[in-house]
């Protein structure tokens, strides 16, 4: 420790534990900070407080039984987790999925992406001290999405909707009208966020040029999702390795310039707009058919290892599954996006102030549920 000692008065760095109980660490993350006054000298994350040994659990569950567990990974984007998992298993089984099921999957995944980004935007504003108001606005809009999901699959947070080979339920009557109404309702709200936050001068001065993540560093740390795109890399699995029916829709990939906190925030706002576009197109082109499958089917895939990744709201969610021909996976590895995104933070926050640390952490939108698994 660097101590300058003059007789008996001396200064020293100041060790502080930020978390596991802290309002802006987004869950049970512990950051061990070494501070010099307000400046962060060193930041060591300690994770694992929410470790539920998902990967070990998976080895003792059938392929179908593991679907509800994926809900609990990234619990604000359960649909996307379900989707990533069932698509990985389908890839192992070489299963064909009906067109209607694919469209339904796209619609619910994009709606959930909006819901997830709304939380990201709201909590980021909260971290910057815009106390509760943007958060409540975001939750108000998210509530509409949750209502839609509640009607579709019967739950508001842990949906358990996707099934291997399809989805559990077809859309109930009248839900497409409701989704169309939501798209109409949501567009002006995003403009409201722009007015309230995006170009607010205090917000700009707090988040511009804070925590700049250069392109090379982002790729080297395997940062994915909106955080990577904010650094100026045009990379989106929905475009670059299209799965489901994403290649049939028209949408743009928003790309940032500087890779600072503001860019990461702005990318999310833009992605909400793009997701609304996708939902609108998909609901218009929804084909007829039967998307449902029976839940009781036993799958016994065998593979020496298959890796499948999807574009989650927080980045690329990958499942590496090894099957030995029994009803349970032999090994299931979850590559969670937030895990890699968090790994870069200690490098970014060196020399910033505590307030900036909170800003950077908020802009990365990490979620402990999928980091600790």
């Amino acid at each position: 420790m660097d101590t300058t000692q003059t007789k008996d008065i001396y200064t020293e760095e100041f060790l502080i534990n930020m978390g596991p109980q802290h309002p802006s660490t987004h869950g049970v993350l512990c950051l061990e900070l070494k501070l010099d006054g307000e400046f962060v000298k060193e930041c060591t994350p300690h994770i694992g407080y929410l470790h539920r040994s998902m990967e070990k659990i998976a080895e003792n569950r059938t392929y179908t039984q593991f679907i509800p567990y994926t809900d609990r990974l990234d619990y604000v984007a359960s649909m996307n987790n379900n989707l990533g998992y069932v698509m990985a298993v389908e890839k192992m089984l070489n299963l064909e999925v009906s067109q209607r099921a694919q469209y339904i999957r796209v619609i619910v995944a994009e709606l959930n992406r909006i819901a997830s980004h709304l939380i990201a935007v709201g909590t980021f504003a909260q971290d910057l001290g815009a106390f509760a108001t943007p958060l409540f606005y975001c939750f108000r809009e998210r509530e509409k999405i949750l209502d839609i999901f509640d009607q579709i699959c019967g739950n508001r947070l842990t949906y358990n909707y996707m099934r291997i080979g399809g989805v559990q339920f077809d859309f109930p009557k009248g839900i497409d009208e409701k989704i169309k109404d939501f798209v109409k309702y949501m567009r002006p709200k995003v403009d409201d966020y722009d007015q309230l936050l995006t170009y607010n001068t205090i917000f700009l001065s707090r988040s511009k040029h804070i925590g700049v993540l250069p392109k090379e560093l982002a790729i080297s740390y395997s940062v994915t999702g909106p955080n990577l795109r904010a650094s100026g890399v045009k990379w989106d699995l929905r475009k670059d390795e299209p799965y489901l029916v994403y290649d049939k829709f028209e949408f743009d990939i928003p790309v940032g310039k500087n890779g600072d906190s503001w860019d990461r925030y702005k990318i999310r706002i833009e992605e909400i707009r793009q997701s609304l576009r996708i939902v609108e197109q998909a609901i218009g082109a929804l084909p007829e058919g039967d998307p449902t499958v029976k839940v009781g089917r036993i799958h016994k895939p065998s593979s020496s290892g298959i890796y499948f990744r999807t574009e989650n709201p927080r980045g690329e969610l990958g499942f590496y599954i090894v099957g030995d021909g029994s009803v349970c996976p032999y090994r299931l590895k979850i590559r969670s996006p937030s895990f890699s995104n968090l790994a870069v933070i200690p490098e970014l926050v060196k020399g910033l102030k505590i307030a900036d640390l909170v800003c950077v952490l908020g802009s990365f939108d990490i979620l402990m549920g999928e980091i600790d698994r």
Partner: protein, 150 residues
């Protein structure tokens, strides 16, 4: 140079103040809009058909096929049966609600529709033992339903 700097400074100031005013306008707009929340315990959201609350049972429909027990990811259901001249009948049906993750698999897999998901979701009690539920008991959910607002 200094003049340009000053003009820029003033411009930034005006743009900044204008952006703050825009934010204030947004919040004032919602100040006069009607509220969107519910007064929870007295007002409640209507539940829809697919809602997954506590597990319910129609014992007369059960054919003791054990499918629900097999599919349950958390092993919260347990059945025992009686063998009476080649016909199985239900003896006990235990439901450990503490483990239940409300995934709805048991309802979806049931061939006769004996298992249902009820609308009960306010499920806090002071005693853990109350989470061990005998599904054959008729008054099993009185703990949670007697306070419900109809």
């Amino acid at each position: 140079m200094a003049i340009i700097k000053m003009i820029n400074c003033a411009k930034n100031l005006i743009v900044g103040v204008w952006s703050l005013i825009k934010g204030l306008v947004v919040t004032l707009k919602y100040f006069f809009r009607p509220t969107v929340t519910l007064q929870y315990p007295t007002e409640k959201q209507p539940m829809n058909d697919r809602f997954r609350g506590l597990v319910g049972l129609h014992p007369e429909k059960c054919i003791v096929c054990y499918q629900c027990v097999k599919i349950c990811p958390t092993a919260c259901l347990a059945i025992t049966n009686k063998q009476e001249d080649k016909k199985k009948t239900l003896e006990t049906f235990k439901y450990n609600m503490e483990l239940c993750c409300f995934c709805g698999f048991c309802q979806q897999v049931c061939p006769t529709g004996a298992i249902t998901m009820t609308n009960i979701y306010e499920i806090s009690v002071f005693d853990r033992k109350k989470f061990d539920i005998n599904l054959l008991n008729v008054g099993k959910y009185d703990e949670w339903t007697h306070t419900l607002v109809k």
